[in-house]
């Protein structure tokens, strides 16, 4: 079904390899994500994170590719599986881990939790926990950028399962008709929770096979390849910024763990898991950089630096107390309060 030619796919295919500094940045960003998410996992196991949490281990190349390519004032909108998408915008790791742990130092001072990370000062415009809801909101931010002629682009991440909800459809049509500067990025990790996406979707490629329904080009890319994701991001951001309207990208990837904290992911065939783990974006990229002449010491130094960063973030989060109870009923309104009467 999916056609794979068009200006955007051509631009992606013909993109020159990024320079070494950028590529090291991609590697660094992926490692930061990986190590932070692994630490989050450890913290669950110690029951220091309550409630639920959704890790994106294995999907780092998507977030990193965009994170490195985006302009500082661009917007991102992501989902409950959005720790990485938040981090790559330059958001405090302490703030993220602190929020997962429900501490005062958390990005949202404990009021949002792991599914709602946001830092507007970094353009990280929020993580949304109801499937599809952020897609029209992201379009609204793009509309605002268009109206203000700010040159900002709105980037919206979502999963394969999200392509079957109404808000997906309304958002894509709306963005196309208004020619908005937005990039919709579907991370197809093959599952919606415990159900294989193919069991509940009428087309093989849930996003790419639907692009034509919005007059858009079908773009299907390897979401485990940081270079591809970076080139994709550059091309789609440039398209949006130049006034050429929205893009819909489908990035094929895989989550290494279960859907959420409670899920061991046993419904997935062992061979499938093994095959995808063999394509783990981080070791693959590390090898590629080495092959391109980056020395191991440089890469090791990045690993060490990110590991230390995660340690420091965890330490700071642990040292922070629970949020003061006085904030529980504040900030419903812009006046800081929650009063509904006089």
């Amino acid at each position: 079904m999916t056609e794979t030619t068009g200006p955007l796919t051509t631009a992606i295919a013909n993109a020159p390899t990024a320079d070494t500094e950028t590529r090291l940045d991609l590697y660094r960003t992926m490692q930061a994500c990986r190590m932070m998410e692994q630490r989050a996992y450890d913290l669950f196991m110690q029951n220091l994170i309550k409630g639920t949490s959704h890790l994106a281990l294995g999907q780092e190349a998507v977030a990193a590719g965009f994170g490195v390519a985006m302009r500082e004032d661009d917007y991102t909108f992501c989902t409950y599986r959005g720790h990485n998408h938040t981090l790559v915008r330059g958001v405090s790791m302490t703030g993220i881990l602190g929020e997962l742990m429900g501490r005062e130092i958390g990005l949202l001072n404990g009021k949002g939790g792991s599914m709602h990370l946001m830092d507007v000062t970094k353009g990280a415009m929020g993580s949304y926990a109801i499937i599809g809801a952020h897609m029209p909101i992201a379009a609204g931010a793009a509309w605002s950028a268009q109206y203000r002629e700010s040159g900002q682009v709105s980037v919206c991440f979502f999963g394969d399962g999200t392509t079957n909800i109404g808000a997906f459809h309304e958002s894509l049509n709306f963005a196309a008709v208004w020619n908005l500067p937005i990039v919709y990025v579907c991370e197809n990790n093959l599952y919606m929770e415990y159900t294989p996406i193919a069991d509940v979707t009428a087309v093989a490629n849930p996003a790419a096979d639907r692009a034509s329904a919005y007059g858009l080009e079908a773009v299907l890319v390897d979401g485990n390849d940081a270079d591809v994701m970076y080139a994709t991001a550059i091309a789609a951001l440039e398209k949006a910024r130049s006034g050429a309207g929205p893009s819909l990208i489908e990035a094929q990837t895989y989550r290494h763990g279960g859907h959420s904290r409670a899920d061991p992911g046993k419904y997935r065939p062992n061979e499938e898991v093994a095959a995808w783990k063999a394509r783990d974006p981080i070791p693959v990229y590390r090898q590629r950089l080495q092959d391109a002449g980056v020395d191991v010491a440089t890469l090791d130094a990045i690993d060490a630096e990110q590991s230390a960063r995660v340690d420091a973030a965890e330490e700071a989060a642990r040292n922070s107390g629970p949020p003061p109870l006085e904030i529980a009923d504040t900030e419903v309104w812009a006046d800081g309060g929650s009063s509904w009467r006089n």
Partner: protein, 325 residues
């Protein structure tokens, strides 16, 4: 003062705020060239152009989502949901996203937006185009809820809603669009969260909203002239914030309360007002709190049936008299 219809007051308020603030933008179905199906946005496209007044597809989730995203990033959108019954197709954006995001992020962002909608029954439109859903909104923390009863209130409260930094659901009553009244000329901005005593009285307080306000006023007339009962009529105007001060002051004086709601019985705003009074003003009460509502049923379409179930002047009179017994 100028004579404006309730309908004209809507576009007057929007135009006033659009002139004042270039970040105010308008979106909705058929609101630009067509001026809205209720003709409440007429003239806006001509004055403010297609970048500020935009037609949308039939995609209420996109409309409300777009308003939300724009509000988070510097604009002040006014979105129209054509009939308030249609809030049900975009309720998630309203209640789970717009209402909660500021709180969840401990104040990182604001939603300075207004969602206007034609609310209420009496126009023989049937059960899916006639609901009073202001109580749906009132039940959700994070939404301000306004429902004016006169052209002057439309202008002043809509302007206030547009200027307000929080999300406001603004319910226009479709039965009132044709009514006329004096409206302050020039820039006019009222205040959210203030009820109004429209008629002073001593024996009983009647609290009403939107299209029920003129009915309550007529009932008060009849009570006075035919039954010698002096009713004080309070127009709630704003459900959130709720002006309990004005309502309580009236009940403290009359010692009796009747609420008149158009919404179906269960969990209406009248229940909330009743429970507040029963909790905080109990010792002032000299009799039961009476609620007049539409029965807990969908609205029928035929005129005879619709008139039979919505609160009527007669029913209000009878309910007050029973209480005054």
């Amino acid at each position: 003062m100028a004579q404006l219809s309730y309908r004209e007051a809507v576009s007057a308020a929007i135009a006033q705020e659009m002139r004042r603030d270039p970040t105010v933008v308008v979106l909705g179905e058929d609101i630009a060239a067509a001026g809205g199906v209720f003709k409440t946005t007429e003239g806006l496209l001509a004055e403010f152009g297609p970048l500020r007044v935009r037609d949308t597809p039939i995609s209420e989730q996109a409309i409300i989502g777009a308003a939300a995203g724009a509000a988070m990033t510097g604009l002040k959108p006014i979105a129209e949901i054509m009939f308030s019954d249609f809030f049900a197709v975009c309720w998630d954006l309203v209640v789970n996203q717009i209402a909660k995001t500021r709180f969840m992020t401990n104040g990182q962002c604001s939603f300075p937006l207004v969602i206007r909608s034609a609310n209420g029954g009496g126009a023989r439109f049937g059960a899916q185009h006639s609901q009073s859903v202001e109580n749906w909104a009132m039940a959700v923390p994070g939404l301000k809820v306004v429902a004016p009863s006169s052209p002057a209130d439309i202008k002043g409260l809509l302007a206030a809603a547009i200027q307000d930094p929080d999300p406001v659901l603004f319910f226009e009553h479709k039965l009132l669009y044709g009514t006329k009244g004096e409206v302050p000329e020039g820039d006019h901005v009222d205040q959210l969260g203030k009820a109004k005593v429209l008629r002073a009285g001593n024996d009983v307080t009647i609290v009403a909203l939107a299209a029920m306000v003129p009915r309550a006023m007529k009932a008060a007339d009849i009570l006075q002239t035919e039954h010698g009962v002096s009713a004080e009529v309070v127009d709630v105007r704003s459900l959130v914030p709720l002006d309990t001060t004005t309502i309580f002051a009236s009940v403290s004086k009359t010692n009796r309360l009747v609420t008149v709601e158009e919404n179906p019985r269960l969990c209406g705003w009248g229940a909330e007002v009743s429970s507040l009074v029963a909790e905080e003003l109990f010792w002032d009460l000299e009799g039961p709190i009476v609620r007049v509502t539409t029965p807990h049923i969908p609205l029928p379409s035929a005129d005879a049936l619709e008139d039979a179930v919505m609160p009527s002047v007669e029913r209000i009179v009878a309910s007050v008299l029973k209480l005054a017994d």
